[in-house]
């Protein structure tokens, strides 16, 4: 190495005159010395040589395969984003209105505080709990703007890892694929509670209660507030009461993932019922929110983590610790999506318009469920009970098809879905329901 330094001596590898406007560093072709140096690096093994390719993301793979398919009947039911009847992406009118308003006002682009836009934080907590709710009045909720659902879950996971060392998160079997990645990366141990019953294509309620009971005291129980992803199966109100009972009994901490408030039933209040039930109990719990689906703000990455505490003082301290986690991750959150939400919720007219558009989106999905069910019932003469399609709620449905049957859906019918039998109703149009019904009936009866 020393000889290398000596041989370079005072020879500069770069032109001595630096033209400020057009900096040319000299190509290897023109400077043989530089060429030798560059070659020596290219021949040296990379420090990253040993890196392996990670397994492909299962959901992204579905979209890619769909794109590559040239068949005219193809249908993409893997997509986790709302589509219109014409199967196009949808930007809410009220969002365009809010963005135009923001442009007219000429808002500045200064850094938000680490905890995010104050108007957004206030609006999001009020949407979740209801404006006059005691937890808000008593200032017991620590709310931090987060990067949509994922980012909010990650902040909470980091808080759990730091302040509840050894505590476990118990997640539903199955659950959204990224939940495990988030807790793994945050180094929070997790286990599963039974949830989906393939025999009934419904909820394994007894299994769920038993597994929650068995979890070590003080575990974090991850619950989907509404429109369970991937199954579409939600507990009934009565079942939620029993879930709250067992969680309280075991001093567990509920951890809600609320990605579909207003998008599931069409009503913001109805979809928040499970969360509010727990708030009524006076429990301490976590809620991650996302505005990706209900305001169609997927790419803006806007959500929040809320921690309901037993006192205002505890909430202040928890908020300070959440900020401490956010600062070395991204310093402060992006302003654009937060302003859109704050503007929409803060204006009476826009808020009504939003509710109407949300009802429209939820309504389209319900209509499509009904149409699919009707098609299945009229075409399937076996007497199989397809009513689970109507009982399920939200963007997704577990069809009950196994992997081989799901493969048949794709290979024979060009219907793209995930291998666990999940279809996205958001990607289904009324016009395609009959075709889909044919595909499902064929796959269910003729493939094992």
């Amino acid at each position: 190495m020393a000889s290398l330094m000596l041989s370079l001596g005072s020879t500069s590898l770069l032109p001595r005159e630096i033209n400020k406007d057009k900096l040319k560093l000299g190509t290897s072709a023109s400077n043989p010395f530089l060429k030798a140096k560059v070659l020596s690096f290219l021949l040296k093994p990379s420090r990253f040589e040993g890196i392996t390719m990670a397994p492909p993301d299962p959901i992204l793979g579905v979209s890619e395969a769909f794109k590559a398919d040239t068949n005219g009947m193809k249908l993409n039911l893997g997509v986790g984003a709302y589509r219109t009847e014409e199967l196009q992406p949808y930007v809410l009118n009220v969002v365009k209105k809010a963005e135009n308003l923001m442009l007219e006002r000429g808002d500045n682009k200064e850094y938000l505080p680490i905890e995010g836009l104050a108007a957004f934080n206030k609006a999001t907590a009020e949407l979740l709990f209801g404006a006059g709710h005691p937890v808000i009045k008593e200032q017991r909720v620590a709310t931090i703007q987060g990067l949509s659902g994922t980012g909010s879950l990650r902040l909470a996971a980091a808080l759990i890892e730091r302040y509840f060392p050894g505590a476990k998160v118990v997640i539903s079997s199955p659950t959204w694929g990224n939940h495990k990645n988030i807790f793994n990366d945050a180094k929070v141990p997790w286990s599963e509670y039974r949830y989906y019953d393939p025999k009934t294509i419904g909820l394994d309620f007894e299994g769920m209660i038993a597994d929650i009971k068995e979890a070590p005291e003080g575990s974090f129980i991850l619950l989907h507030g509404c429109a369970h992803n991937p199954t579409g199966i939600d507990p009934t109100p009565e079942q939620w009461v029993k879930i709250a009972d067992v969680i309280q009994e075991k001093n567990h901490i509920p951890f809600f993932d609320v990605a579909y408030q207003g998008f599931a039933s069409g009503s913001l209040d109805e979809d928040a019922a499970s969360v509010r039930l727990f708030a009524e109990r006076g429990m301490e719990f976590f809620v991650a929110q996302s505005y990706s689906k209900n305001l169609g703000l997927y790419a803006e990455r806007i959500g929040a983590i809320n921690v309901v505490c037993s006192s205002a003082d505890a909430a202040t301290r928890v908020k300070s610790q959440l900020k401490r986690i956010a600062r070395p991750m991204y310093s402060n959150p992006p302003v654009h999506g937060a302003r859109i939400v704050a503007n929409v919720v803060g204006d009476v007219t826009m808020f009504s318009e939003w509710k109407a558009e949300m009802e429209m989106m939820a309504g389209r999905i319900k209509t499509v469920r009904q149409e699919l069910y009707d098609s299945l019932v009229s075409k399937d003469k076996s007497g199989k009970d397809w009513s689970f399609i109507l009982k399920q709620i939200g963007m997704f449905s577990f069809t009950g098809l196994n992997k081989a049957q799901s493969d048949n859906m794709t290979d024979k019918w060009h219907v793209y879905m995930t291998k666990d039998g999940r279809i996205s109703l958001a990607g289904l149009s009324l016009a395609k329901c009959e075709y889909l019904a044919d595909a499902i009936i064929d796959s269910y009866h003729n493939v094992s």
Partner: protein, 405 residues
């Protein structure tokens, strides 16, 4: 009720924020906040660039746009343009397809994603940062799982670069260690290596197989020239070796709150680049899944349109020139007052910040009696000064320097 959250302790307060809050709470009508790192106009107001507003209007008028999730590594068009901006259009590394770029959340996000990638895949987990460096650097790297050490950088006696100390400390670093190098406009000191010094640093870094991780938060904002401010980075990339680069558009495009930046990893081959890209996605997915679209769209719109790009370079130079003018005015004001000491470092330093050389005691007095706020290390933001406030600052510096030696 059993409360487990009650035992959570309050987090210690961020030192920069505590200064900002103290200033906020000061009732004096002449108070001056020189602590925050955001550009202000001559009138003391935040600035949104004209070209940014034009880009936003253009985006709003384009009814074909939607808000669908970006790919995990961000807006492809933005990534290409951002890499070209820092490496130069004709960079061989780009031509050879051995560059991986990932849109991230401004500088912080790019540093954090890069650090997490390195913590998993780099054999050596020690990362060297300059002493002093931006306050958030050590936290970012520590939380990512790296072990932070310092190399000498600032020499308080000369108020310049401790070049000998820097080379000694880097020379003693374990092979394969990561070295954070601020590409230009060093924060907090304002002290940058000269071109010749960069060349010596490059040779040492390469000879010791250290891995450079550039933090480029001020390209174009330091000297007024995008190319000049990228010299150090391009010098390293030109020798064909590996490096990481974190870019931010917070200052040079005034997009602070939009959180737009990128992480570039220059590899030695296309094959390695593919594997690296694939693994970087695994860092991003459980952190926030995909990055936000708005800032990326603004940057891409401006960079790809030659008229907008030119207009941007003019506005950018305007900001850099105003800061340089503030430096000259402050220096002249101190000279005119015969303030004891050598103040030439103010015009030798570059970028948004300068280490005044004031002691903590002097800094506290500045706040208490003169209502001028800066961080306790004596750093001031030149971007927060105006022709009107320079005399006030010069008077205060003169006063505290003569009152406290």
């Amino acid at each position: 009720m059993n409360s487990i959250l009650s035992s959570v302790l309050p987090a210690p307060e961020d030192p920069v924020l505590s200064v900002i809050f103290a200033c906020r709470d000061d009732p004096s009508p002449v108070k001056l906040n020189l602590s925050a790192g955001t550009y202000r106009t001559e009138e003391g107001k935040p600035l949104v660039l004209d070209v940014v507003r034009r880009a936003e209007q253009q985006l709003a008028n384009d009814l074909s746009r939607d808000k669908e999730y970006l790919p995990l590594n961000g807006l492809p068009e933005f990534n290409k343009l951002s890499t070209k901006l820092i490496l130069g259009d004709d960079s061989p590394a780009l031509k050879e397809n051995r560059v991986v770029t990932t849109q991230c959340l401004s500088g912080t996000g790019s540093l954090r994603v890069g650090a997490e990638f390195l913590a998993t895949h780099n054999k050596e987990s020690v990362i060297f940062v300059p002493n002093p460096t931006w306050g958030n650097h050590p936290r970012i790297f520590t939380l990512a799982g790296l072990s932070v050490q310092y190399f000498r950088y600032y020499d308080p006696k000369s108020r310049g670069l401790d070049f000998k100390g820097m080379l000694e400390d880097l020379g003693a670093a374990p092979p394969g260690a990561i070295v954070v190098l601020q590409a230009c406009a060093h924060n907090p000191t304002g002290v940058d290596p000269t071109f010749e010094q960069w060349e010596k640093i490059r040779r040492l870094v390469r000879s010791k197989s250290l891995l450079p991780f550039f933090d480029s938060a001020y390209q174009g904002f330091a000297s007024g020239s995008l190319d000049a401010d990228a010299q150090a980075v391009r010098m390293f990339v030109a020798d064909g070796g590996e490096c990481l680069i974190a870019q931010s558009y917070a200052k040079n495009m005034g997009l602070y709150g939009e959180r737009i930046g990128s992480l570039t990893i220059v590899c030695t081959s296309e094959d390695v680049a593919k594997k690296v890209e694939n693994q970087v996605l695994l860092v991003v997915r459980p952190m926030y899944l995909t990055p936000p679209i708005h800032g990326a769209s603004i940057v891409a719109t401006i960079l790809k349109n030659s008229d907008m790009y030119n207009d941007w370079t003019i506005e950018l130079k305007g900001m850099a020139d105003r800061i340089i003018s503030m430096r000259q005015q402050l220096y002249a004001a101190l000279e005119a007052r015969g303030t004891p000491g050598d103040w030439s470092h103010i015009i030798k330093h570059i970028g948004m910040f300068t280490f005044t050389g004031l002691s903590e005691e002097q800094v506290r007095l500045m706040a208490k009696e003169y209502h001028i706020y800066m961080t306790y290390d004596g750093r001031i933001s030149m971007a927060s000064l105006s022709s009107k406030t320079v005399p006030q600052l010069a008077d205060a510096i003169h006063a505290v320097v003569t009152r406290i030696a």
